[in-house]
Symmetry: C2
Subunit: 369 residues, 2 copies
C-alpha cells in the first residue's frame, strides 16, 4: 500500500492506494468519529464489494451501517436521488456525528459526497472508489454535485473527504468500457500537466488495458499525485485547478446533448480532448503533429475520437452555460504543448466550430462547417 496526502491545512487527508485497502479496518477507524455510518453504493457495485466493506467497518467498530443504493449510472446524480439519500439517513436518525462511505464510481462518489456536504450542514465522508475514473480523478479533490437538465454538475459543493481508499483490486471486476473511460482522465492529467505521463501511457497502454497490477498502480498513484498537488494549490478552482477541465467543456456538452448516461463521462471527455487539441491548433498554440498524437493515444485506448452527430450550434448553446464561462464568455482549456494546458476566453467562434467539425462524424462535420 502507498499513501499520498492532499495538503489542505486543517482538512488534509490521505489517499491510500493498493490491493485490498477496502478490507483494511485500520484505514476506516480513524475517520468514523463517534456516530453511525451510512454506505452509499449502487446495485452493480454492492454485490461485489458491500459485504467486504461492511466486514471492515464491523472490525472498525461500526456494525450495521445504513445502506442506501442509488441507480447505476449518471442518472443517479439527480435531485431525486439526493432526496432519497436524505430520507434514508433521516429515517434511520443519523446524527451530525455520522459518516458516509461512498462505495462505487464517480457517480456514487459525487452524490455521496454531496449528500455528506449538506446533511445537517455537513458530515464526514470516505471515498472508496471502485472504478479507474474515480480512483484517478473524481474521488480526490472534494468536488461534489448533481446534474441539472440545463447542465452537468450545476448544483454542488466543495466538500473534501476524510480519506480516500483506492483499492486497485476492485479494478479487476471493472467492465472494459469503464476501464477505458477511466483512462481518458489519466490521459487528461498527462496532457494538461505531465508530458512524462503521456510518454508512459504511450509505452504502457497495453499493460494498462491488460490490467497489470504494476501499470494500474503507477497510473492511479501518478494521477493522484498530480491531482493532489493541484487541489492543494487551488482547492476552489480560482486558477490552476481549471486546467483539469481539459476536454470537459466540450465533454459536458456531449453528455448533456446526448442525454446523461448515453455517453460515459470519460468517453465524452475523450472526444472533448480531441476537440480541445484541434482548437488549440486553430488558435495557433499547438503543433498539428501534437494534436495528431492526442487523437492517436485516445484512439489506441479504445475511446471515441469524435463526438456524437450533434450540430455545432447545440455545442455552443450548451457550452454557454458552462460553469467555467465568465461574463457570458466560454473559457476554453487549451494545450500549448503536450503536458501543458492554459485557459483562453477570447476565441473566435468560427475556430470553435471548426474544431468541433474536425472531431465530429463526417455528416455532422459537413453540417457544422
Amino acid at each position: 500500500m502507498e499513501t499520498l496526502r492532499v495538503a489542505l491545512a486543517g482538512r488534509s487527508y490521505p489517499i491510500h492506494i493498493g490491493a485490498g485497502v477496502l478490507d483494511a479496518s485500520d484505514l476506516y477507524r480513524p475517520h468514523l468519529g463517534s456516530g453511525r455510518v451510512a454506505v452509499i453504493s449502487n446495485p452493480v457495485v454492492a454485490p461485489l464489494y458491500l459485504e467486504r466493506v461492511k466486514e471492515a467497518l464491523r472490525r472498525a467498530g461500526a456494525p450495521a451501517p445504513v445502506e442506501v443504493l442509488v441507480e447505476d449510472g449518471e442518472q443517479a446524480k439527480s435531485w431525486g436521488a439526493l432526496e432519497r439519500v436524505f430520507d434514508a439517513l433521516l429515517g434511520a436518525r443519523l446524527g451530525r456525528d455520522s459518516t458516509i462511505v461512498a462505495l462505487g464510481g464517480g457517480v456514487v462518489g459525487d452524490l455521496g459526497g454531496f449528500a455528506a456536504a449538506l446533511y445537517q450542514r455537513g458530515i464526514a465522508f470516505l471515498q472508496v472508489p471502485t472504478t479507474l475514473l474515480a480512483q484517478v480523478d473524481s474521488a480526490v479533490g472534494g468536488k461534489t454535485a448533481v446534474n441539472h437538465p440545463r447542465g452537468k454538475n450545476m448544483i454542488g459543493a466543495f466538500h473534501q473527504p476524510a480519506a480516500v481508499l483506492a483499492d486497485i483490486g476492485a479494478l479487476t471486476t471493472l467492465p472494459e468500457r469503464e476501464l477505458r473511460a477511466g483512462i481518458a482522465e489519466v490521459i487528461k492529467h498527462g496532457l494538461a500537466l505531465d508530458a512524462a505521463l503521456v510518454d508512459w501511457l504511450e509505452a504502457n497502454l497495453d499493460a494498462l488495458l491488460a490490467r497489470e497490477a504494476g501499470a494500474l498502480t503507477h497510473t492511479v498513484r501518478r494521477s493522484c499525485e498530480l491531482k493532489a498537488q493541484v487541489v492543494a494549490e487551488d482547492e476552489r478552482e480560482s486558477g490552476r485547478r481549471a486546467l483539469l477541465n481539459l476536454g470537459h467543456t466540450f465533454g459536458h456538452a456531449i453528455e448533456a446533448g446526448a442525454g446523461y448516461g448515453t455517453w460515459l463521462h470519460g468517453e465524452a471527455v475523450a472526444a472533448g480532448m480531441v476537440m480541445a487539441a484541434e482548437l488549440s491548433v486553430r488558435a495557433g498554440l499547438l503543433a498539428a503533429s501534437d494534436a495528431a498524437r492526442v487523437r492517436r493515444l485516445v484512439g489506441r485506448a479504445g475511446l471515441p475520437v469524435t463526438g456524437p452527430a450533434m450540430a455545432a450550434e447545440r455545442y455552443l448553446e450548451l457550452m454557454a452555460l458552462d460553469k467555467k464561462a465568465a461574463r457570458g464568455r466560454v473559457r476554453y482549456i487549451l494545450l500549448e504543448r503536450i503536458g501543458s494546458a492554459l485557459v483562453r476566453a477570447d476565441l473566435d467562434e468560427r475556430l470553435v466550430r471548426d474544431a468541433i467539425a474536425a472531431a465530429s462524424p463526417p455528416a455532422a462535420a459537413a453540417a457544422a462547417r
Copy 2:
C-alpha cells in the same frame, strides 16, 4: 450608519446597520463582482422594497437583475422552492460570477443563502434582512438550510454572505407579530451571552415595541456584535456557537410538531426558552426566580410562554432527531444564570418531561406528567 465586522480570515464581511442602507449603492458595489445579479424575495416584501433595491443595484452597475419570488413563510424553506430558484438562475444563464441578493426575512435569507452555497458549487450573496429576526440573528453567521418533513434545517450548508445590509427603516413596515418574534432572538442573545442586554430589554421593552429608532438600533447592533463574536470564534458550531441554540431544541420540535408556518420561528423559540429555563431549574443549575424572570420577559414581549397542546412523547421523538443530538443523546442548551448558557447531554428524561409540562397549556401539562 454603523458598520461591524464578522472576522473570518479570508471571508470576513461587514454588517451595515442604519436607516436607508438598502438604498446605498456604495454598499452593494464592492460585492457584485463581474457577473449578474439575482434578487430573491417574496410577495410580501417585494412590493415594499424590491424597487428600491433594484434602483440601488442599477446605480451600483447591475441593472435588470433576475427576480425570483418564493412563497411567504417557513413553507418556502423547501426542496421544491430551492429547485425553482435554480431553474430561474439557470434559465437566465447566470454564471459562477453572479451574486444573489436575499431581500426579506429569515426564510428568504436561509433559502437564498443556501441557493448561493450550491449554485455552480457556490456563488457570492448579500443579505438584505427586512425583519427584526433576520437583522438580529439569521442574516449573520452563514447558516443556510431548507427543512425536511423530519426536522428543521436538516439539509443545509455553512456559506457566509459577502455583506449584510440591515436597514432599520424596514422594521417600520414589519407586522406586529413578526416584530415580537424577532425580539425572541434578542432575548436569546441576552440570556445566553449577555446579562446587560437582558437588563436593557427589561428597561426598554416598551420603546422597542414602539419601534423607537434608538431602541431598534441598539437592539440590532448589540445582537450583531454578540453574534459576530461567537461566529468568529466558532464558525462551524463545534463549540460555543451551540449556545445560540438556546430554546431551539424545544422550539424546532414545536415548529415541526405544529406544522411549519403555524408557529413563527421566534414564537417557538420563545416557548422553547421557557422550557429550557424550567429544565435548567430542574437540573439544579438555575434559580427558580431566574426562570420566572425569563418567563416574565418573554410574556411582556407578547410571546408565548407555553408550547402548543402537544404530548411530551412527541417532543422527545422530534428532539431525538435534532442536529445537536450526538450518539443518539439530545444535547440541551441550559442556563446556569441569566447571561450564561451551557450544553448538557446527560439529562434524566423525567426532568425533560417535567420542564415541557411546566411550559405547556394546562390540559397538555396534565397529560405530560
